[in-house]
């Protein structure tokens, strides 16, 4: 193109309302650039991003004055799209545009050296002009998308996302690893801030899900293979095993079977609070209400089957099911969280039998739990309860040790929901068993929830709940009182900040640890999907403000606590946002990607394969055989949908010109550098 047509560069310098022009002598820069070869237009404007500024560009293009646009202004992350739009509207290919950052990289950082800053601005813009000269018109990469969504996780986030997607007419595959829907929410009783029953809310959501023909439920299923890219994710699913119980056992039969079962296992639903057998019943709030066998623990001894006269309704042989292959346009990750498990000895955990966690306590207080009617622990009435806050959260600046399910890492984040949940629990104890003394031993409290921010605290403090504050450098200690052997209570030693750092001892019949959230154990899935995780081990979004629910791989969205600790409200909001984003992607039958990806020249490529080894993005580049002029040539080929344009392949390629990133060709960069180092005489 450049041969056909003379390149005419237009340079537009922005004052940024003084942000730039107060330091940089923009007029001098303009004059200097006007003299620069190939620059035909050099203008400046108070705000290039304003309509008037953009019109300058459009008019110059329309008048045929320029065919390359260089705007020297702020960071491209702010206004690249703005000026690309102006270029396009002027009638030019939008990729013939180059942005030079003379604000963040010049005026702001050199505010004390205006002369130097002016000089630097000239250099930077010259570089931009040099690069613009080398730009080729490009086209966005178009990918046809499959109109189907895959939702991983059947908790409240997954359910919500599936519901919203289906509502916009998109078929949804809802995959859940466990035999039941509902996730963590299913094991909650009443939820803040409304005090509604979690199971009721969940049930109404589940009813909508199961009655929706667009949603395919895949329970007891996990992902075994994950490839592809936005619009075309290829997923292989495997059913972990059938429920093991066909049809329905009546309660009596189930009891017989459970009695016969020799495997006593921790009950995950009750957070190991009450043990259960490997064959067990569905819990209230679970969907479906079908009993199941836990294959992680079942040894297939057959005793349950024997006890029920070898009924055919118990199937212990798992027939290896075939893999299910799916193609989905978008994927929503709603894999949720796990409750933090304290290390042995953390605040007396697994040392004193009176120490339990908040999720366990919630189960015990729920209908059917051991505290439903009487407040007794191991046969003794509970007179005092201590709730220790921030267990497994905010583990910074103190004597913290990693919990059992934290991969040896400390959790520095706040889990956010525990304050409200703890106070809710405290209030519930006071309401149902008013004679009990309740102590909240906290580090800091923030019961955030819209409209009810202080209600829980207000209620608790008026109910006579006693608050004690510790700090991270002197953590509370749970000890057995030395003076009495018969005393079944434990004492919690607290250096109470509210009582002027007095060391106090709190007697407690029951200690509740308000454990935080940790990311659920999804390492295999994370490895398969190649999705980034943050330093807190939760899944990482692209940008917390600008793209809060998207992952770096286009087409994968986050819904809920797989991303960070959230309450149900926030999870639902995130899930709806993820669903909307999915629907946006799938609304057209194609999606557009930026064209800045690697491109191989098969005629030059020697087929060394070094780039394939270097590439971080699985499948973005691979070796192919092509027959050119009757000769089979082995060469690299880029999958534009998967390539991120990082340029690692370009760097390792031994053959000059064989591979280049579009929009950032080596030649262009070279010219740019040349222009940078030219002398600036002002």
């Amino acid at each position: 193109m450049s041969e056909k047509e003379e390149t005419k560069v237009g340079v537009y310098i922005c004052h940024c309302g003084g942000n730039i022009s107060d330091i940089v002598d923009v007029e001098k820069v303009r004059q200097e650039l006007e003299k620069y070869p190939n620059v035909v237009v050099s203008r400046r404007n108070m705000f290039m991003c304003s309509n008037a500024g953009q019109e300058l560009i459009e008019e110059d293009i329309k008048a045929g004055k320029v065919n390359r646009v260089v705007v020297a202004s702020c960071s491209p992350s702010l206004h690249e799209m703005t000026f690309r739009g102006a270029t396009r509207r002027g009638g030019l290919n939008e990729f013939l545009y180059e942005q030079v950052n003379i604000r963040e990289q010049d005026s702001w950082v050199h505010s004390h050296q205006p002369d130097e800053a002016t000089r630097k601005a000239v250099s930077l813009i010259r570089g931009g002009v040099a690069k613009a000269m080398q730009l080729d018109p490009l086209e966005s990469i178009k990918i046809t998308t499959r109109k189907k969504a895959l939702v991983l996780g059947g908790g409240v986030g997954g359910l919500r996302a599936a519901k919203e997607l289906a509502a916009s007419g998109i078929p949804v595959e809802l995959v859940e690893k466990s035999p039941y829907l509902g996730g963590r929410m299913a094991s909650l009783d009443t939820i803040y801030p409304t005090g509604e029953v979690a199971a009721d809310l969940l049930n109404s959501l589940i009813q909508e899900i199961i009655s929706n023909s667009l949603i395919t439920l895949r329970l007891n299923t996990e992902v075994v293979e994950f490839t592809g890219y936005i619009g075309n994710f290829n997923v292989s699913l495997k059913e972990i095993g059938s429920r093991g119980i066909i049809g329905k056992l009546d309660p009596r039969e189930l009891r017989i079977a459970a009695n016969a079962c020799p495997e006593i296992i921790p009950n995950e639903y009750d957070f190991r609070g009450i043990p259960r057998k490997a064959i067990g019943s569905a819990k209230p709030g679970n969907y479906p209400q079908i009993d199941s066998i836990d294959w992680n623990y079942c040894t297939r001894c057959g005793k349950c089957k024997e006890a029920l006269e070898n009924t055919e309704r118990i199937q212990l042989e798992i027939s290896e099911s075939d893999l299910i292959h799916l193609t989905a346009g978008v994927v929503i990750l709603a894999t949720g969280f796990d409750h933090y498990i304290p290390y042995n000895g953390e605040f007396g955990w697994e040392v004193h039998p009176n120490v339990i966690t908040l999720p366990q306590f919630v189960r015990m207080m729920s209908p059917g739990g051991i505290f439903e009617k009487k407040f007794e622990w191991h046969g003794r009435e509970i007179h005092s309860v201590a709730i220790i806050h921030c267990v497994g959260s905010r583990q910074a600046d103190g004597n913290f040790k990693p919990g059992q399910n934290c991969d040896g890492m400390l959790n520095e984040y706040c889990s956010r929901v525990c304050c409200s949940a703890s106070l809710q629990a405290a209030n519930e104890i006071k309401e149902r068993f008013p004679e009990t003394n309740v102590y909240n031993i906290y580090r800091d409290i923030r019961t955030y929830a819209r409209f009810t921010e202080e209600d829980y605290y207000e209620k608790a403090s008026k109910n006579g709940v006693i608050f004690l504050k510790y700090n991270s450098t002197s953590l509370p200690e749970v000890v057995k009182p030395s003076n009495s052997l018969r005393d079944r209570r434990v004492h919690i030693k607290v250096k109470d900040q509210l009582t002027f750092c007095q060391e106090l001892e709190v007697p407690a019949d029951l200690v509740i640890l308000a454990v935080g959230m940790v990311p659920s154990n999804q390492k295999t899935l994370i490895n398969q999907m190649k999705v980034p995780i943050g330093s807190d081990r939760f899944l990482l979004e692209v940008h917390p403000k600008l793209r809060p629910i998207e992952m770096a791989s286009p087409g994968i969205m986050l819904a809920g606590t797989s991303q960070a600790p959230m309450d149900i409200t926030e999870t639902s909001a995130a899930a709806s946002a993820a669903a909307s984003k999915g629907a946006i992607i799938l609304a057209k039958n194609f999606t557009e990607l930026e064209p800045f990806v690697a491109l191989v020249d098969p005629e030059i490529c020697n087929g060394t394969g070094l780039c394939v080894n270097e590439c971080e993005y699985m499948g973005a580049i691979q070796m192919v055989d092509t027959i050119i002029n009757g000769v089979t040539i082995k060469h690299a080929q880029v999958n534009a949908a998967l390539c991120k344009g990082c340029g690692a392949c370009v760097a390792v390629c031994p053959t000059p010109g064989a591979i280049d990133v579009r929009g950032y060709k080596l030649g262009a960069i070279k010219e740019m550098i040349k222009a940078f180092v030219e002398d600036v005489k002002l």
Binding site: N463, Q502, E505
Partner: protein
């Protein structure tokens, strides 16, 4: 080990007729900021500190706090409290509770926390006194002749023996209670004092004076000086109360005519004191100078003048106090206990019977017999007042005065020590500079 005890607060709350929600206190310290008697430092940051101690049940810390006795319930704390925790009422209840803890017999506890006990006690004392007067008295001596010679009805010796006997028992109870109070305060003060003067202790480890409060209290010059100050300034001037009142008045610009309270209190105090002086002077004169011939005391007789003026002051004061309690016109007396009423009632009855007695003495149109019978009533109410004194509202007289005395003494001592410390530091620094 300091074990948390949530029962303490519940217990304290039974010492008020109001179910005030001090549990709601989140220790923000607004009350401390506005309180005219709180000072810098944890232990002196009342009422906040005390509320926290009560919440977690550090009984000794509460009982060892002398500053609560300086509080005269100006109610500023309650008005600024963002949680409506009523720190003012809490302080009042805590004082009553502390009083019943210091007091050795346990009667104060019953009297303060059980409204019926006071009434029952009044009735019993009334009947017993009546019985004693009936046994020892001689009603046949009552006549319409003038002047009224009251000891014709009940022999003086009986009154004196009963009076002295009761007084001895009560002085013993009061003494033991005060010793209790002193023990608790000095124990707490000791530890805090040493904490506060950590540097001093480290630099002068051998100075035993710093390690015990014993020297402090019995540093005779300081304590005598302070005792005089307390008696003049605090007892007869109610200086602290006036200060608090004025400060509250300035700060809050309250429409309540709060100074009314100070005057009312002074009237009662001076009236009571004057009557006591008159009675004692009378007794001394009778015993050492002999009775006035004919038994007639003219109205212009100096002791009688003191008596009449004091009586008027007492009656006016008590009436005002009673009215304000009845109308709940001042915030601090919105929640009166039975024993507060009993105290006022006894004072009022003593004053009233005294007046009727005096009137029947001088005014001939009043039958002389009435004078005799009213005198019996007068004596009975005095006995009621005196017997209930160590346990009820009256007891604040010595608890407050004693706490003030200790407080002034400690303040003076601390001041002296701080100066010494400053001088020593300056000396060290001088030596350093010289080196």
């Amino acid at each position: 080990m300091t074990l948390i005890n949530p029962e303490t607060l519940k217990e304290i709350k039974t010492y008020s007729t109001k179910d005030f929600s001090v549990d709601a206190c989140f220790n923000c310290g607004n009350c401390t900021a506005i309180c005219p008697i709180s000072e810098e430092g944890t232990e002196k940051g009342i009422p906040r500190t005390l509320i926290r101690y009560a919440q977690v049940g550090l009984k000794n810390k509460l009982l060892g706090n002398r500053l609560m006795w300086l509080c005269s319930y100006c109610n500023d704390c309650t008005e600024t409290c963002p949680r409506n925790a009523e720190p003012g009422e809490f302080m009042m209840a805590t004082r009553r509770w502390a009083m019943s803890q210091y007091e050795v017999t346990g009667i104060a506890k019953l009297l303060n926390s059980n409204p019926l006990f006071g009434i029952a006690a009044m009735g019993i004392i009334f009947l017993i006194s009546l019985f004693l007067f009936g046994v020892f008295g001689n009603p046949t001596n009552i006549s319409s002749e003038r002047p009224i010679i009251i000891f014709n009805l009940v022999p003086k010796i009986v009154i004196e023996i009963i009076g002295i006997g009761i007084a001895l028992i009560l002085i013993a109870i009061i003494g033991l209670s005060i010793i209790n109070m002193y023990r608790l305060i000095s124990k707490e003060y000791d530890s805090n004092f040493i904490q506060g003067f950590e540097i001093a202790r480290n630099t002068r480890k051998n100075d035993k004076k710093l390690n015990t409060v014993f020297h402090l209290i019995f540093s005779p010059i300081i304590m005598v000086k302070q005792a005089i100050a307390v008696i003049i300034k605090e007892i007869f001037g109610q200086y602290r109360q006036l200060q608090c009142t004025l400060e509250a008045l300035n700060k809050r610009k309250r429409r309540e005519f709060i100074i009314y309270r100070w005057i009312m209190h002074l009237l009662i105090l001076w009236g009571f004191f004057g009557l006591g002086v008159a009675t004692i002077l009378n007794m001394l004169r009778d015993n050492f100078l002999g009775s006035i011939p004919n038994g007639y005391v003219p109205v212009t007789y100096p002791i009688r003048i003191i008596g009449i003026i004091s009586g008027i002051a007492l009656m006016v004061g008590v009436t005002l106090a009673g009215l304000s309690r009845y109308r709940k016109s001042l915030r601090y007396n919105e929640h009166s206990l039975t024993c507060d009423w009993i105290f006022l009632f006894n004072l009022f009855m003593i004053g009233l019977t005294g007046f009727i007695l005096t009137a029947s003495y001088y005014l001939t149109f009043i039958p002389a017999e009435l004078g005799y019978w009213v005198f019996v009533l007068h004596m009975i109410f005095i006995i009621e007042l005196v017997i209930l004194a160590p346990f009820g509202k009256f007891a604040h007289v010595w608890y407050r005065s004693f706490a003030l005395w200790i407080h002034y003494g400690m303040q003076a001592r601390e001041h002296k020590l701080a100066n010494e410390l400053k001088r020593e530091k300056a000396k060290i620094e001088k030596a350093k500079a010289a080196a």
